[in-house]
């Protein structure tokens, strides 16, 4: 499955949940397929999508909060997996699109081919982890995890496919903050 296919499968399953996006490929691909007010596009601060998502989840415990992360971001902030497991927000769903490369900078390899990130999340203490590598497995896995007590972790293994012509997020950072906060009120 190519990365784009994972987004095409996943994004229609979303309702009005806030989704915190990791920088790079994750932001750009998601934005170009379907922009949403509830999307927080983190264009810089690599590694922090998971901690931002944790902050949102802890302060809005009554709504499901999704982190849409990448392997590079997870590897950079592995300690945050431990923080998420320790705080154990029931409403946090951590989805990782794992293409084993830093895709938007030219496909330099990450090390997630050697390190099974779902096992890291499981060892840290996430309540459930699921790893999928086929497109048709995404919907049942995501729906099951959305109906489970968090924190839960969905690892989607994909092949790189990023087209550098894919646009960047066109909203300014201030606009992103403003509309994301409005959607959370």
């Amino acid at each position: 499955m190519k990365g784009t296919e994972a987004f095409q499968e996943l994004l229609p399953l979303l309702g009005d949940e806030p989704v915190v996006h990791a920088n790079g490929f994750i932001c750009r691909e998601s934005f170009s397929i379907k922009d949403r007010e509830e999307n927080f596009y983190m264009i810089g601060s690599m590694g922090l999508a998971s901690s931002i998502g944790l902050g949102v989840a802890l302060c809005q415990p009554d709504r499901k909060v999704i982190v849409l992360d990448g392997d590079g971001n997870v590897l950079m902030s592995m300690g945050t997996l431990a923080m998420i497991a320790a705080e154990a927000p029931k409403n946090l769903v951590h989805v990782v699109i794992d293409n084993e490369v830093y895709e938007s900078t030219g496909k330099q390899r990450s090390i997630s081919n050697a390190v099974p990130l779902e096992q890291v999340a499981k060892s840290a203490g996430y309540r459930q982890v699921v790893r999928v590598d086929k497109r048709e497995e995404i919907k049942p896995a995501f729906e099951k995890l959305m109906n489970s007590e968090g924190p839960v972790f969905l690892l989607i293994k994909v092949e790189p496919c990023f087209d550098p012509k894919t646009g960047r997020v066109t909203h300014t950072p201030e606009e992103i903050t403003e509309r994301f906060m409005k959607s959370l009120r």
Binding site: V20, F40, M42, I43, G44, S45, M46, G47, L48, A49, S50, S51, I52, G53, L54, G55, V56, A57, L58, C59, Q60, S77, G79, T80, A82, M83, A86, E87, P173, E174, I176, T177, F180, M181, L184, R185
Partner: protein, 168 residues
């Protein structure tokens, strides 16, 4: 003898509506963190690294809370990219309480360089701060609240050794 008690300072922050506390410890801030762990109205979440604490605070703020980040100045390096590529451009405020190790060149070797440059780093990044003193508490908090509520930007309070009761 501490110049400001941890209790009175935390009470004051709670009065200013701060309700989300996280950070990475420093002995200079140990009294504050012990007090935060003990009081009902506040919750302190241990962060594993200072930039993760910046992310956590950003999420908390956008979800309607008022965050405070406590850290040693050694954490400032880890935070600079988070401040410059997240808080400053997205206008996501946070109150930072940063201890000043290495002040005046008198400290363990690992603190000397950061102790010398921490204010210059904040200035270079365009981030406002004040060195907190018992006599300027009201004044700097007013400045901090203006920065946070009106400009939606971070504000740092620098804490010198001996300002708060230290439990270490």
């Amino acid at each position: 003898m501490a110049l400001i008690t941890s209790k009175s300072f935390i009470d004051r922050l709670i009065q200013e509506n701060f309700n989300f506390f996280t950070g990475v410890p420093c002995s200079l801030l140990s009294g504050l963190i012990s007090h935060l762990e003990a009081v009902e109205e506040a919750k302190y979440i241990p962060s594993v690294r200072e930039d993760a604490a910046v992310g956590l605070c950003a999420g908390a703020y956008m979800a309607g809370s008022m965050p405070v980040l406590l850290m040693q100045n050694s954490g400032l390096g880890y935070c600079l990219n988070a401040f410059t590529s997240l808080n400053l451009i997205y206008r996501i405020p946070v109150l930072v309480i940063m201890s000043w190790r290495g002040q005046g060149g008198k400290d363990a070797p690992e603190h000397i360089i950061m102790g010398d440059i921490n204010q210059k780093l904040l200035e270079t990044a365009g981030m406002d701060y004040s060195v907190l003193k018992p006599e300027n508490l009201d004044q700097v908090l007013e400045k901090a609240m203006r920065k946070i509520n009106e400009e939606k930007l971070p504000y740092t309070l620098i804490v010198e050794k001996g300002l708060f009761d230290e439990r270490h």
